[in-house]
């Protein structure tokens, strides 16, 4: 507890069990707030959502056995998106370990591949040091989750050994000066430079530096799903989301640039498609050495913090290009594709939902998403401008992430409005956390785009499996009653004209609200771009502008 307090831990999310009761007993007098969740997966996502907004560790705690295994999905989510979550699990006493005792699972082994590091504390005298190390490791270099497994007897025998002093190393490694110089020269010599920002740029808060370079070189910026919002999407050089469900202008820029400055992005298959489809010169900046060359071979690899690297490169660019054919053509494309999503018809179009959210969300709203079509509608159409923040499960694509992450985000930023853009499939995986939000009086608005389907499954079966639909029908749930059962307010919307009042009510409410929007069940998310080494295939849908967006 001394360590937790000295690391400025204000709250933790969890569910107690026999193995963690000694810790909970101490927690009572610690001054640290504990949020009782309804499922441990929720605790992990809440800690994750909290960490992504606070940019400091979020803590979740579960008991041994099933409690601990329930954390696994959430910890893996945090690992894939480089989020500093600290997962504490109880464990059966050391004299029982290995005998398949009650509620025993080898969570130490289970967590190993999905954490930066994990500890199994078997000696009470190392508990404080290990906890301290967990904080340091989670926030050093590339952020990530750390797990600590504590047997019950270690908790009870913990003998008040003084913890070592805090030792978070806040220095962020910069690039070598020769590397920064080569990068600057490559960018200045480029005819069609492009900047691609990933989650690393967002964690590092490197948006200002990226924009400075972009403005000097008239270089457009595209963002990956995890990079969305690293730079405001209203800036004329920002082309928005790139990748499978990205905007046509952004994908055009990626296909046609000659020098790509990729920052904190890992060239995932959902972003760049097949390996080998990046034929431009690539300057790859990442704080994690193992990312360089993992999915593509960069022309120049720089191991550095995104902000520090961009700042150093920017200082070396002594050029000012106001406009180029390149920036004009990609800008024109952006303009041409800025199609009208103010769709006034019933059943309600999901694009209309995003259109209204774009208009009425405050400038500093936190937008969390579930996973699936709802996520892609938000990623593609929603404008993250001003101080808005976009939070999503990008790497693992964890259905059920949104609601608990939104609750965690609200704890991290009580003064900002937090919404969860949800689909019914993803939401129902964690809907019990509405009870947590009600109990704690957390005003999160669940904007449920309800198509009573696993929509993305339906879409893929339609496009890639000859419309042979199976295992995608989720109909038969009354979401308003469900919300009310959990003590939240439920508003059903069938008519697009009722959308804005319902959303405004949800945003103004002092408790959790679920807006159950019955969207058009047939609508899919387009364009859908598949990049291969041979070129791109684009499924355009019915967009009047040839599926640009």
């Amino acid at each position: 507890m001394d360590v937790l307090r000295s690391e400025n831990v204000e709250l933790m999310f969890g569910i107690p069990g026999a193995a963690t009761l000694p810790l909970y007993d101490e927690l009572l007098d610690s001054g640290i707030r504990h949020i009782l969740v309804r499922h441990e997966q929720g605790a992990a996502h809440m800690a994750d959502g909290y960490a992504r907004i606070k940019r400091s560790p979020g803590i979740c705690i579960a008991t041994s056995g099933a409690g601990a295994t329930n954390l696994v999905t959430g910890v893996a989510t945090a690992y894939l998106d480089s989020s500093p979550v600290i997962a504490i699990t109880g464990q059966v006493p050391t004299n029982v370990m290995g005998s398949d005792g009650f509620q025993e699972a080898d969570i130490f082994s289970l967590m190993m591949p999905i954490t930066k590091h994990n500890f199994r504390v078997t000696d009470p005298s190392t508990l404080a040091t290990d906890l301290r190390s967990a904080f340091r490791i989670s926030m050093s270099g590339r952020f990530g989750p750390v797990h600590i497994d504590i047997p019950k007897d270690v908790l009870t025998r913990e003998n008040g050994v003084q913890p070592p002093p805090t030792s978070v190393d806040a220095t962020r490694p910069g690039p070598r000066s020769d590397e920064a110089l080569v990068a600057a020269k490559m960018l200045m010599a480029a005819e069609r430079p492009l900047i691609m920002l990933g989650g690393g740029a967002k964690w590092s808060r490197a948006g200002t530096e990226a924009l400075a370079i972009a403005e000097k070189l008239a270089a457009p910026i595209v963002t990956t799903l995890m990079g969305k919002g690293a730079v405001p999407e209203t800036h004329p050089l920002v082309l928005g989301l790139v990748g499978m469900h990205g905007r046509a202008a952004a994908n055009y820029a990626l296909d046609n640039c000659d020098v790509l400055l990729a920052v904190g992005a890992r060239f995932s298959d959902r972003t760049v498609g097949e390996a080998g489809s990046c034929n431009m010169k690539v300057i790859h900046v990442d704080i994690d050495r193992t990312e360089l060359g993992k999915n593509i071979c960069p022309t120049l690899g720089i191991v550095a913090d995104a902000k520090a690297a961009l700042s150093a490169i920017n200082d070396l660019i002594d050029l000012k290009i106001h406009s180029s054919m390149w920036s004009k053509s990609s800008g024109d494309m952006m303009g041409r594709c800025d199609c009208d999503i103010d769709v006034c018809e019933d059943p309600i179009s999901p694009r209309k939902v995003i259109f209204e959210l774009n208009r009425i969300l405050p400038q500093d709203a936190i937008i969390v998403t579930e996973v699936g079509q709802c996520q892609m509608w938000a990623a593609h159409f929603l404008e993250i401008r001003d101080q808005r923040t976009f939070v999503t499960s990008g790497g693992l694509g964890t259905m059920g992430f949104g609601l608990p992450a939104a609750i965690g985000a609200k704890f991290a930023a009580p003064d900002r409005k937090v919404i969860d853009i949800a689909g019914d499939g993803s939401f129902m995986m964690v809907c019990q956390e509405l009870a947590t939000a009600s109990k704690e009086n957390i005003p999160v608005a669940v904007v449920l785009m309800n198509n009573t389907r696993l929509g993305m499954i339906k879409q893929h079966q339609r496009i890639f499996y000859g419309n042979r639909l199976t295992a995608q029908d989720l109909s038969g749930v009354d979401m308003v009653k469900l919300a009310e059962a959990f003590g939240a307010e439920g508003i059903r919307v069938d008519d697009y004209r009722d959308l804005v009042p319902a959303l405004e009510t949800a945003l103004e409410s002092e408790g959790p609200v679920l807006v159950d929007i019955q969207i058009n069940r047939e609508e899919d998310i387009f364009p859908l771009t598949l990049r291969t080494a041979a070129g791109s295939t684009v499924y355009r849908g019915s967009c009047p502008y040839n599926g640009g967006c």
């Binding site: 190993m112 590091h117 199994r120 490791i137 994690d288 050495r289 193992t290």
Partner: protein
């Protein structure tokens, strides 16, 4: 064949964590030797993988682990092959270059043997 040498924490779970990196990148470990070393509380692991590209990937990934203090690829001059063979005359331990040891095994055709690589 590439030989990787590392100094690691001498604790439970460390081998699993290290092997996990090979599992995830689908790299087979051809030989492995683990033993006490000159650093208190640490152990030395020497292992071999088939090619340079795999070795480079492994070294980068191992370098990230908090249980690994130091990791490097070692050249042939610092390697020593080791084998234990069973013959009609009993067990024989062999030490030499990788080629030498391989040749002796080839000629002796032992009923059982183990052949591995060590390095310093």
């Amino acid at each position: 064949m590439e030989v990787i040498s590392m100094i690691v924490n001498d604790e439970f779970g460390v081998m699993q964590r290290i092997m996990g990196e090979f599992t995830r990148k689908r790299i087979n470990v051809e030989t492995i030797v683990v033993g006490k070393c000159e650093v208190p509380g640490k152990a030395r692991i020497v292992l071999t993988v088939l090619d340079k590209e795999m070795a480079d990937i492994a070294v980068e990934r191992l370098g990230r682990l908090h249980d690994v203090e130091d990791v490097e690829i070692v050249d042939e001059s610092r390697q020593s092959a080791y084998a234990l063979i069973s013959t009609s005359k009993g067990w024989i331990g062999l030490v030499g270059s990788r080629n030498e040891v391989a040749e002796i095994i080839e000629r002796a055709r032992p009923e059982h043997y183990i052949n591995t690589v060590n390095a310093l």
